[in-house]
């Protein structure tokens, strides 16, 4: 289970002095939404098999353990954090994860399709390449077979591609594949006791890109705003609807 603690930007933003990132004071942090679904799916597969262990791996600073603890509270068994405080591109993250994941020799590797903050949809597939694993991206259903799995790949426009993939494999998990469980208070407490092993990354190579400049997007013409009370807004909506449907 590869997970990420994502940054959430509020209504206000200031940039760092070099204008290449957002000032961290303006960021909150959370477990990536896709990763909650991936964790749930891993737990369900182990529960169905009445066997197995779910190991959560992540790349980030010590604070990122908060997101990992969320997964541990859901029921994952233990965690491994690759320590890094640097801005990494998704291929570098894959390199940081590869060594740790390889050493665990897992039957299945899950990652979220993408992270909510950077939306790159790349780490899982790059990791599969580095591990030399078969892979399917954007999975919404998994049926395990013997030496393979039959999975649904969610294409654009409401079409599913049913794919047979050899296992071990890496799958990137899409939201909606299941209904992630809530951790009980007791489980959250117990998760504090679970082991998170910390490793140092090896050589992560040259970055695949570098941020040159970050900025607030220029506002387009934007919408004509309807002001006033809810009743005023409703009245105006009715008028607009009548005008355009006629």
């Amino acid at each position: 289970m590869c997970v990420k603690q994502v940054a959430v930007l509020g209504d206000e933003v200031e940039f760092t002095a070099d204008e290449r990132d957002v000032d961290p004071d303006y960021l909150d942090y959370a477990l990536n939404e896709w990763d909650t679904y991936a964790t749930e799916e891993a737990l369900r597969l182990c529960e169905a098999a009445a066997d197995g262990e779910v190991v959560v791996v992540s790349v980030g600073p010590e604070d990122a353990e908060e997101a990992m603890r969320r997964c541990l509270a859901m029921g994952a068994d233990r965690g491994i954090r690759v320590d890094s405080d640097a801005w990494l591109d998704p291929i570098q993250v894959a390199r940081a994860l590869a060594e740790v994941v390889r050493a665990e020799n897992p039957d299945l590797v899950f990652a979220g399709v993408q992270s909510a903050d950077a939306v790159q949809a790349a780490t899982g597939t790059a990791l599969a390449e580095l591990l030399d694993l078969p892979r399917v991206a954007v999975v919404t259903k998994i049926e395990l077979g013997d030496g393979n799995a039959t999975v649904n790949r969610e294409l654009e426009g409401g079409v599913l591609d049913v794919v047979e993939v050899d296992t071990p494999a890496l799958l990137t998990i899409q939201t909606g594949i299941n209904e992630p469980r809530y951790a009980t208070l007791r489980a959250i407490k117990q998760a504090e006791e679970k082991e998170i092993d910390v490793r140092q990354p090896g050589d992560l190579g040259e970055p695949a890109y570098q941020v040159k400049k970050m900025f607030v997007p220029p506002k387009g013409e934007g919408a004509e705003m309807l002001n006033g009370s809810a009743a005023d807004v409703a009245q105006k909506i009715k008028e607009i609807v009548e005008e355009h449907t006629g």
Binding site: V22, I91, A122, E156, D161, A169, A208, Y209, F215
Partner: protein, 312 residues
Amino acid sequence: MSVLIVAEHLRGELRPITLELISAARELEGPVAVAVIAKDPSALTDAVDVEGVNEILSVKVDQEEFENDVYQQAVERLIGQREPQVILLGFTVNSMGYGPAVAAKLGLGFASDVFSIDGAAGGPVATRAFYGSKVHAEVEFPGHDRVMLLLRPTAWPPAEGAGSAVEEEVSVSISGSLARHKEFVDVATGDVDITTADFLLSIGRGVGDKENLPQFEELAGKMGAILSVSRPLVDQGWMPNSRQVGQSGKTVKPKIYLALGISGAVQHLAGMKTSGTIIAVNTDPEAAIFSVADYGAVADLFEVAEELEKLY
């Protein structure tokens, strides 16, 4: 800048993203080659022969439909042979399955969900969003002679105009496919077809709870609208996929699109931004939906819905 585009097709039809990639490539002012990887590439070459394409590379493979390993091996071979400076793929589910693998293996510069490219100064500079689309960033690729960019669907218009590309057959031997296409399943078409509606009342995460849905179904009925939803409501299992607007759901173009409690994720906007008149109600004045709306109101959707109930 020399550009290699990988065409996308499904069930024998070219996907619209391919022509959008060609539009983007034209801005880079280099020779543009489009690779068609298919069992019968000749069935698709006419569709990609549009203005601005210099070469069409036909790559004949055994597989009718997309498979990760087939595309990965073919594209790696093409990059090795043609040495393009820029490789353009769609930021699509297919590309997500092999693009990052090619970039990791060949050590390419890489960026995804790119919606603007500047090819003027030395290497390409790509623009993409970070932090939930609230900020944009220009990214560059120092130290990389070759850069793979996955471009956001609908960010460029489809390329048009008659082409005069040269066709070349490229033979690539594919050694095994570890994730094999079996069949396609169309997600059950529901009771209504939201793509033909003139008036959609669309609701999102803002409705908060499943118990609130009947209220909006009723309101849509009263207003003469069809109810549609954004992805989170389908993920929760509250509404069927057939009602979903967005990239993974349906692309809609009603005369009126009334969005209540939809913040406007990129994938949602791609599915509705060409609607006739868009009205958005959201409590967050910074919600991205306002950037594509014609009319907006920063208001509580339940209060507005209640008032609308009274008027119809």
